[in-house]
């Protein structure tokens, strides 16, 4: 036994525990309400000092200690365990009655025993029905031997991964990808602007080291990689005016000109804008558009056409094969490292639009659509594309209907439009130093995490809180270490799940 409940209310339970015990913020404890046969789950949200006797005694004793320290006089304090104690402040998570987990609508009996939860207590979590394994349950700093993850069906309801640098975002994504590969039931598109997922780092392995990478991972990159990969090429003919608006700002006149170009030249608009002389373009549009407007647009077009990932040949494009890979439930890694930001964004925008557009079309045939795997598109520094409207905002709003989810990875969730953030059902919170970021997460999470602010502040690298609809509470997790986790798949030459190709 760790302690006994003292009291307070349905949203905050206080217990006393011994002076010598070390309880950590975030620990999950249980209160045994023997009188009502309930087992309450409590999350430690704050810790306080306690002492028998008045507050004055504490002041006086500290003063005596300081005096004796100054005089270098020895002293002792006997009966510490009886005089001193600690107080744990807990948020009630819920309780188990008759084997069923219930929301915390009752409080434990007075002076109920409080103890640390053991594996047996977490049986109800095994019924969670998740299939994307992420890590193990965490209680404070300790790992509990209970695996945790999310239900893959939630990926189309969007995922947010929020963490400051060094808290383990990349490891989490690698683990997520590893589980997705093992599952083979979901398409996962990872746009990797930092080149950290393929090879890994100096001390970590990459996705290519996953034992199932041979048939579950497909890699696209504009530059040479050490292992099997495809060259990333996007045809200039598949870039739309809308795509460009996702990455550049345009004046109203420029926008009008872009739509005029698109209307006049169709899918050749970008190539023609690039190839035609300014004067030619002005004449083409009956001099209704000024040459200065075309000058600006042409400079943008030149930047795009100069990009090593853009090809003038309509038939040289990998987007179709990426779509097919995703339909096959594969993990598709698009390594955009070394590219300019606008190139990386352009690749992401074109691919995201194609995926959404494809699934929207497929939606018309319900039966075939039913066989389509959910696809998750991950976007690093997602605040760049979720500040305003665009394809990613569109996916956030309507993607779930078409089985297209967005995984927004960001250090600054406060920069994401609040209305868009509210569309994200699953949060992985890995430690956020900024109060503004924590506040926006608190107000958007699908579980009440208002009491766990201190825990979020004190999360260590690799520790997370996971919230999603249907979770009994915000689940504290220790994310698997990728290098160790993939050892579980050694020797598993699993064939990918087959989908109804006839449909496509």
């Amino acid at each position: 036994m760790l302690g006994r409940i003292i009291g307070r209310n349905a949203t905050e339970i206080v217990f006393r525990y011994p002076y010598g015990e070390d309880v950590k913020i975030g620990e999950i404890l249980v209160a045994e309400d023997e009188e009502n046969d309930n087992l309450f789950f409590l999350r430690v949200v704050d810790l306080q000092y306690g002492q028998e006797g008045s507050e004055k005694w504490g002041y006086r004793t500290a003063g005596e200690m300081m005096l004796l320290d100054e005089m270098e006089q020895p002293y002792s304090m006997r009966e510490k365990e009886r005089r001193l104690f600690k107080i744990g402040i807990c948020a009630p998570l819920g309780y188990i009655h008759d084997g069923k987990f219930r929301k915390p609508k009752a409080i434990p009996s007075h002076f109920s025993k409080v103890r640390r939860a053991c594996r047996e207590d977490y049986k109800f979590l095994d019924k969670g029905g998740w299939d994307i394994e992420i890590g193990k349950l965490r209680s404070g700093e300790s790992e509990v031997d209970v695996k945790v993850g999310i239900d893959g069906n939630l990926i189309s309801h969007h995922i947010g991964i929020f963490a400051t640098t060094g808290m383990g975002k990349s490891n989490l994504m690698r683990v997520f990808a590893a589980s997705a590969m093992a599952s083979g039931r979901y398409g996962l598109l990872i746009i990797d602007p930092h080149g950290e997922y393929y090879e890994g780092g100096e001390e970590t392995k990459g996705l290519r080291h996953h034992p199932m990478a041979g048939h579950s991972l497909v890699v696209y990159s504009p530059h040479h990689l050490s292992g099997p990969h495809n060259t990333l090429k996007i045809s200039a003919y598949e870039i739309t005016v809308g795509d460009l608006q996702n990455i550049f700002s345009f004046t109203e006149a420029q926008r009008d000109a872009l739509y005029a170009l698109s209307s006049r030249f169709g899918k050749e608009w970008l190539v023609n804008l690039h190839d035609m002389e300014n004067e030619e373009l002005v004449d083409e549009f009956g001099r209704r558009i000024q040459d200065i407007t075309f000058s600006v647009l042409k400079r943008r077009a030149e930047r795009i056409m100069r990009s090593e990932i853009i090809h003038r040949d309509e038939n040289v494009a990998v987007t179709d094969s990426i779509l097919n890979n995703l339909k096959e439930g594969k993990v598709v890694l698009v390594d955009t490292s070394g590219l300019y930001e606008y190139e990386e964004l352009l690749a992401g925008v074109v691919l995201a639009r194609r995926v959404l557009s494809h699934n929207k079309n497929a939606y018309r045939d319900k039966e075939a659509f039913g066989k389509l795997p959910s696809v998750l598109i991950t976007m690093e520094e997602a605040q760049r594309v979720l500040k305003a409207d665009g394809i990613f905002a569109q996916i956030a709003r309507e993607g779930r209907k078409f089985k297209v989810g967005l995984c927004a990875i960001t250090q600054q969730p406060k920069l994401i439009k609040e209305e868009l953030l509210s569309q994200f059902n699953t949060f992985f919170i890995l430690g956020l130093a900024d109060e503004g970021d924590r506040n926006i997460i608190k107000s958007s999470a699908k579980q009440d995490i208002s009491k766990v602010e201190k825990e979020i502040q004190t999360l260590e690298a690799g520790e997370a809180l996971i919230t999603y609809p249907g979770a009994p509470f915000a689940i504290p997790a220790k994310i698997h270490w990728y290098d160790d986790y993939i050892k579980n798949f050694e020797g598993e030459g699993k064939e990918p799940v087959k989908f109804d190709e006839a449909f496509y």
């Binding site: 005596e64 002792s76 304090m77 006997r78 009966e79």
Partner: protein
């Protein structure tokens, strides 16, 4: 208000301050049971060193009037002791809280019976009121607890009673007997008073002596023999203690400095600097608080109601119902 209004009060204060400047000559010291004359002189202050090791027992008790039925009371008592050494508490025994109805007619008999059971002799004096009887029984139980604790101690160990060894006219024989047994076993029986009513005509003795002792020795341990004949001392057990205490020592003891040194071993706990920590511990263990009293009252009343009596019956008996409501 004018000078005349404050005049007499200020004159008293002035006189007390003036008196406190002189620490010499005869002073009449008041005790509960009477006065005695102390011969004061600064040369009698003695500095002493604390020992490094000691073993001892601390005994304390608590009594509480739970209900007052005017011609009877429901009283409760709890006593206990701890055995300690320089490192901490090694043993403890706390008796269950005892509850007893003591009426005007049987309180004396109750005390007498308990006394005779313990001493095999009649008491020198019997308390008149029921409250006094309850307190005297508690005192008796404390000395019985001390007797038991003696069995767990060896030669040179110390027995610390909470309170004076002088005050109780009902228990003087018991104290004397315990002092005798302790002496036979080579144990040192002392009484340490948290508060002391020692007074002179104008001054509280403890603070007067403390100020003088600190003036002479500064940050040192010292004691002052107020009456070697009665075994009454004032002592400061820790060099930087803000407090000094009245300590009663068996007048038959030869080496007072040795005893003071041993008490000092227990007086370096920073929670109660200068006061023997086993006494503080046992006090906390046995004390009956007003909350305890409220709880006992409620339980008794519930028992009455569950037995079919009405609240009117109850209030008739304890008509000052504010007490149990409070």
């Amino acid at each position: 208000m004018d000078k005349k209004t404050f005049g007499r009060a200020f004159d008293y204060i002035k006189d007390a301050i003036e008196k406190s400047r002189y620490f010499e000559g005869e002073a009449e010291i008041g005790l509960e049971e009477g006065e005695f004359v102390a011969h004061l002189h600064e040369s009698k202050f003695k500095k002493f060193e604390g020992k490094s090791k000691a073993k001892g027992a601390a005994i304390d008790g608590s009594s509480l009037k739970i209900l007052d039925g005017h011609f009877f009371i429901i009283g409760s008592r709890r006593v206990g002791y701890v055995i300690a050494d320089e490192n901490g508490i090694t043993d403890r025994r706390i008796w269950n809280t005892d509850m007893e109805a003591l009426s005007k007619y049987d309180a004396k008999e109750a005390f007498k019976e308990k006394y005779e059971n313990f001493m095999q002799n009649p008491p020198p004096k019997i308390p008149e009121s029921v409250e006094e009887a309850n307190d005297a029984i508690r005192g008796l139980e404390e000395h019985a607890a001390a007797r038991e604790a003696m069995g767990k101690l060896g030669e040179g160990d110390i027995i610390m009673m909470d309170g004076s060894l002088q005050g109780s006219e009902y228990l003087s024989d018991v104290i004397e007997e315990n002092c005798r047994i302790a002496l036979e076993k080579g144990l040192h029986l002392v009484g340490v008073c948290k508060r002391s009513d020692l007074y002179t005509k104008k001054l509280p003795v403890l603070s007067w002596v403390k100020r003088r002792g600190d003036k002479i020795f500064g940050k040192e341990r010292w004691y002052y023999p107020l009456s070697e004949e009665k075994g009454i001392y004032i002592a400061k057990f820790h060099p930087v203690s803000k407090f000094s205490f009245r300590v009663d020592i068996n007048p038959m003891e030869k080496d007072v400095e040795e005893i003071m040194g041993k008490i000092a071993v227990f007086s370096n706990d920073v929670s109660y600097l200068g006061y023997p920590y086993p006494l503080a511990v046992i006090h906390r263990e046995v004390v009956l608080t007003s909350e305890d009293g409220m709880y006992f009252r409620r339980v008794l009343r519930e028992m009455a109601l569950k037995s079919g009596y009405t609240i009117d019956d109850w209030e008739e008996l304890f008509f000052d119902y504010h007490e149990y409501l409070g």
